[in-house]
């Protein structure tokens, strides 16, 4: 296996949580709601999946528990932003702070205990002989395959179905959508909850497939990188896949440099993903300074039916 193949494999494995979180974020932000709570939701998803898995020994139950807590968190965020019309930035920030604290509090009992199993792998034996594809796709776990499927489904959903058209409409111009008879508030609730489930799944994937022991604050800013990914991907699921793997590669490239015996201390190599995030955002900002960036046009604005803009 050459180095390039190894990097691709590692990029997919560390990029998958980012991909789930970014897809969830895209769904939420397409409906016009900012979601900055990804870090906290991912942490809670990770800790809940870890606790349930250790308690019951059942992976499906662990994933169900994550879905449960994500629905609750999504409901809270939707209630705050859609019904109460609170500042969406602060609501997300509060979710991150609360999630970080609560996950550390809950996770104390399972910290350091590895989960009793792993996500089943889909062995495609017929690929074994094929040079590159066999190594990359031969033994991926089911969650990764699910993420591939999700990218395709979401892409088709957003761009090719009438529901997707409604989703884009309530994100771009909720008043018009309302006049067309689309229930803006109901759909926003739905998409916020659906997206939050995906972000929670991102945390579960991080714990179950990427690093199978709970440690406090284990996502280390990945929720925020996912928030940035949404901007890189210009709210498009397919581009989100590419960007997530690019960041997955940034995550692993530090290890690779260390392995070839570089003198650079590992601390600086670990900074790469964070610094690259800022630099890419700056590049995008520079490139799209006079253009539309693909942002849903009503992103962050509460929709109040009785109010005329």
């Amino acid at each position: 296996m050459d180095t390039f193949t190894q990097i691709v494999i590692a990029a997919i494995s560390s990029g998958t949580p980012l991909l789930f979180a970014a897809l969830g974020g895209i769904l939420i932000e397409r409906s016009g709601i900012i979601q900055l709570g990804a870090e906290g939701i991912m942490l809670l998803g990770a800790v809940i999946s870890c606790m349930t898995f250790i308690q019951t020994g059942s992976l499906p139950l662990a994933l169900l528990a994550v879905a449960g807590i994500s629905i609750a968190l999504g409901l809270v965020h939707a209630f705050m932003t859609v019904t109460l019309r609170a500042n969406q930035t602060v609501s997300g920030l509060a979710m991150t702070l609360f999630g970080t604290g609560l996950s550390a509090y809950l996770g104390k009992s399972v910290a350091g205990t590895p989960v009793p199993g792993s996500v089943p792998k889909l062995d495609l034996d017929f690929l074994d002989g094929v040079p590159f594809l066999g190594d990359v796709f031969g033994h991926l776990n089911v969650l990764t395959w699910f993420s591939f499927a999700l990218v395709v489904v979401l892409h088709l959903f957003i761009h090719r179905t009438s529901w997707g058209l409604h989703l884009r409409a309530i994100g771009d111009n909720p008043a018009t959508a309302d006049v067309m008879g689309i229930r803006v508030q109901t759909f926003r609730y739905g998409y916020v909850i659906a997206g939050t489930i995906l972000i929670g799944l991102a945390g579960a994937d991080m714990l179950l497939a990427y690093s199978p022991t709970w440690t406090e604050g284990m996502t280390a800013g990945r929720g925020w990188i996912a928030v940035a990914l949404i901007i890189f991907a210009r709210w498009n699921p397919i581009r989100a896949l590419l960007c997530a793997y690019f960041f997955g590669a940034m995550d692993t490239i530090g290890f690779k440099i260390q392995l070839i015996g570089s003198e650079i201390p590992s601390y600086f190599l670990k900074m790469i993903p964070y610094i690259v995030t800022i630099l890419v955002l700056m590049y995008l900002g520079w490139r799209s300074r006079n253009k539309l960036s693909g942002t849903p046009q009503s992103l962050g604005l509460p929709y109040i039916r009785e109010q005329r803009f």
Binding site: A86, T89, A94, G99, G101, F268, Y274, I278, L281
Partner: protein, 370 residues
Amino acid sequence: MSNPQAAATPPLEPAETPGRRWSYRIEIDPAGAGNPWWVTPLSILLALLLCGVFIAANGMNPMTVYAKMVNGAFGSSFGITETLVKAIPLLLCGIGVAIAYRISVWNIGAEGQFLVGAVAATAVTIWFPGLPIYGTIPLMVVFAIAAGGIWGLLTAIPRTYFQVNELVTSLMLNYVAILLLDYFVFGPWKDPKGFNFPGTPMFNEAQTLPALGDTRLHLGLAFALFAVVLYGLLVKYTKWGYELRLIGANPEAAKNAGIPIKRHILLVMLISGGLAGLAGMAEVSGVSHRLMYGISPGYGYTAIIVAWLAKLNPAGLVVSAVLFGGLIVGGYSVQTIGLPSSISNMIQGAILFFLIAGGMLGKFRLRRNA
């Protein structure tokens, strides 16, 4: 009530809903300027209630735990000084966050600015070990403010010239700052006689901030109080403060009035970062007397809630800094009965949640649909 003719021509009056139901709508209250005073205490109470559920889930009586926390933070003279010691960095960072939020800039990078301030202050002790106290302390202050300020600018420059959301940038920089600190305390600055403890050697007499009597309170308290008074006066009585308030109230009007918004953002982030950096200096020089791994229990993040609870008001900042300082100390004190100290982080997050929700109460009114 409906007849065929009315359906054919659009009715002038809105059609009456069949079978009147109790339905409500939320609308903007034209008279809603502020919140009644009891919203804030109620929010805190509800947050404590929510967290009580989680404490009970852990098999503890929430009332006992809260009583222990209050007792640990405010019940003894040791507890009170400890609370004030924690309030110092919270107040300094909180002023920083508040001043940036005045013009709607979200500085959630106070944590990183705090850490680089601590690193820069420690750099002075490593590079100029022999200086007398009158040289070292001012130099440490200058280094820390400069480092924190530069860290703040790293957030402000992408925001002003590249339209990059400052939330993401400032948070990314927090992680970079943590790694930078880890590099120094695990690497070149590690105490050779420290039995592998990830920290620098202890500072000498000339490098520590003078303590108040024989308590753990230090001169940093004076820095923080000075900063908060200055903040109050500058925002209220200067042209600069007026411009900040104008940008905060209506950025479009401020722009049309010719106020250089970009320059204000840069300056405000420089100040905000500088204050957090100063807090980092006060912490290493006044409390831990060395730079070490995990020096901040999340002061920068708590500062966001401090600023929000205080509604950016200077006196409110002091009160909420002391309150959250007490929360951190209380969190430590329940460790003795087997609860993790992260309980205080959980409570902080919950308080912010309820504050936001409560903050919306005054802006809207509930009306029954006719």
